[in-house]
Amino acid sequence: MQSQPSERIDWRAVKVWQIQGVFKALTMAIPLVPAVFLVREFSWPLWVPVLLAVVVILYGIVEVALLPRLRWERWRYQVQQEEIDLQRGIWFIKRTLIPMGRVQHVDTRQGILMRRYGLATVIISTAAGAHQIPALREDIAGGLRDSIVRLAQVSDDVL
């Protein structure tokens, strides 16, 4: 493959993803409550909640300690005059090319977590769908958005 796109996303993305990972694991832990209840009240075998807990803990470790770091490591982007170039993926490494002329509009978006860390996601929409560059520093994201819009000269006639 060709050389990678030049820019990295903000390193604090790792922290945001780690926190999100904790929440994901906590959501997965919800079935533990009825499982424990079933063991206590209906004498279900103990291994049911234990197995569940082990799965949740493993999942949490992967989502917190492993994936965010790898994800950040791989994520690259580059905005050039004629195209936007994205690279991402841990298992399946994917390189996406969006021709500048196809860009319809560009948004920046911040969730609560992202705002706390001063990060924003840039969302690039084409007629076929949206592509994201996650977790850039707010000012970088804003600047990127504006420069993509300028390059794309978003017009009504273009589909």
């Binding site: 493959m1 060709q2 004629e82 195209e83 993926g89 298992w91 399946f92 490494i93 994917k94 390189r95 996406t96 090319l97 969006i98 021709p99 500048m100 002329g101 196809r102 084409t126 007629a127 076929a128 769908g129 592509h131 794309a152 000269q153 017009s155 009504d156 006639d157 273009v158 589909l159």
Partner: protein, 489 residues
């Protein structure tokens, strides 16, 4: 061109009436039945009730008709409607992708049309004018056409280039539609569920010997399948009968239907790609369907706009030249495309490397294997499920065999198979995004997968092309992009 505010054709009242009646039919029936149970059967109540409900519905129809106003102002179609809640939609004409005319049986009696205005995005038509006189429809179309270079004269047009489907072709199109298969399957599964419900436990051996004794049953089943097939064929014939395609300036127009006439009109610059689909029944006969990837239609509508229902490879060149010269490939590739469409030999398309062969077979083998494993273990007669994964593997080999691509100037030709074999011609300018990716197994043998997205919300791609080809394709798109200005063709 101006188009003053006006109401729908008066028949609109009747159409709303009938539609509401249809929608309310079940609740009304239930209500009726419950009334009959409670109060006993009374002719007087039935008649007064029926008349009352009809009057109410008619009044509703009249009000909706009265409140429905449409006009063109400042280059936008404006539709005001709603009896209880008022709604006003404004559709700028630059956003309009297609204006379709439809005619049901009632419409045909009164020579009026139903107009559907489609825009990009969204899965349903932006506005539907259920009853418009022919005169108004033409005026509306002209008012909304961005380039007013031609005058359209209703349905059977004489100007421009024009082609009509013969009855023989139509019949063949219906007969090979495979719609019968769907009908048969649904009826069989229905009957199956019924048997299950009744709680009939079938002793299979007994059952088969019973059938063997009564061979007539087998004939009966064959007869039923034949009748279903005939029905499906008839359905397609009615739907696509008298198919014509014509080209007028920057628009391509398809008109079809025996009873209900449908007219689809698409601006050529909205066409994202052309695809040739060889159905499993059609491919052996050397026929394929030419479809258009059109930006105006959402993913929901399963029917892609059909440019031509049943074409032979020989006709492809003629059809593309006549109706879509924008997509006409250079003669050299065109002729080779002709031969490759019916030969299974790929002479012009580049093929996948041999290392991909095993991967294709396994990719289709494993999912089927996982599904048929429980069948094999638990179901009686499940031993036969052993062959399913191998059939899956063969199917994968078939996919491998048919996959191919080719680059010609600004066109990418891509072929792949799911069930039907599809060959698609994509101009570089309609590619919305292009992705190349690989998993660790692919990286080990130097293969990548690629996929591209179109504004019609479809995506096309191939798994397991060599890395070098992936790089080439990216480079091709880059250089093409630098040359073409936004807004393709």
């Amino acid at each position: 061109m101006s188009f003053e505010s006006r109401r729908l054709h008066l028949l609109g009242i009747a159409l709303v009436f009938l539609k509401t009646l249809k929608d309310l039919f079940l609740p009304l029936l239930l209500f009726l039945v419950s009334q009959v149970f409670q109060r006993g059967y009374s002719l007087f109540w039935l008649i007064t009730g029926g008349v009352g409900v009809s009057l109410l519905l008619l009044a509703w129809g009249f009000l909706s008709w009265y409140r429905f106003i449409y006009y063109v102002k400042d280059g936008a179609l404006i539709v005001e409607q709603g009896v209880l809640a008022r709604k006003r939609s404004i559709i700028p004409r630059t956003r309009i992708q297609a204006i379709d005319l439809n005619q049901g049986i009632l419409h045909r009696l009164f020579n009026i049309v139903s107009v559907r205005v489609e825009t990009a995005g969204g899965n349903k038509p932006e506005a539907t004018l259920v009853a418009v006189s022919r005169h108004d429809a033409n005026a509306l179309r002209q008012a909304l056409t961005v380039y007013d270079e031609h005058k359209e004269e209703g349905y059977e047009e004489t100007g421009g280039v024009y082609k009509r489907l013969s009855f023989k072709e139509l019949f063949l199109f219906g007969a090979t539609s495979g719609g019968a298969l769907g009908l048969v399957l649904s009826i069989f599964s229905g009957a199956w569920a019924l048997l299950d419900d009744v709680g009939l436990e079938l002793d299979w051996l007994l059952y088969f010997s019973w059938v063997g004794e009564r061979i007539n049953i087998v004939f009966l089943i064959i007869l039923v399948i034949f009748i279903l097939w005939l029905l499906a064929t008839l359905g397609v014939i009615f739907k696509y009968g008298r198919f014509t395609v014509s080209r007028h300036g920057d628009r391509i127009q398809m008109t079809y239907g025996l009873l209900q006439r449908t007219q689809v009109s698409i601006p050529v610059r909205r066409i994202q790609a052309v695809r040739m689909v060889e159905g499993i029944l059609r491919q052996p006969l050397g026929y394929f369907t030419i479809q258009l990837e059109n930006a105006g239609y959402g993913t929901q509508s399963a029917e892609k706009a059909i440019l031509w229902p049943l074409a032979r490879p020989k006709e492809l060149k003629f059809i593309l030249q006549k109706f879509l010269p924008e997509f006409n490939l250079e003669a050299s590739l065109e002729t080779t495309l002709e031969t490759t469409l019916h030969n299974t030999l790929h002479t012009s398309l580049e093929r996948l490397p041999q290392i991909a062969r095993r991967r294709y077979a396994l990719r289709s083998f494993f999912p089927v294997f996982l599904v048929s494993l429980p069948v094999f273990i638990w179901l009686p007669w499940g031993n036969f499920a052993v062959i399913l994964p191998f059939l899956g593997g063969l199917w994968g080999l078939w996919k491998f065999h048919d996959a191919g691509w080719s680059l010609k100037d600004n066109m990418l030709v891509l072929r792949c198979r799911s069930f039907a074999r599809t060959t698609v011609i994509v101009p570089s300018g309609s590619i919305q995004s292009f992705a190349v990716g690989s998993n660790p197994f692919q990286r080990r043998v130097g293969l990548v997968s690629f996929s591209l997205e179109l504004a019609s919300k479809s995506h096309f791609g191939l798994a397991d092309i060599p890395v070098s080809v992936g790089v080439n394709l990216m480079g091709w798109l880059r250089t093409r992009q630098a040359k073409t200005t936004p807004g393709r063709l």
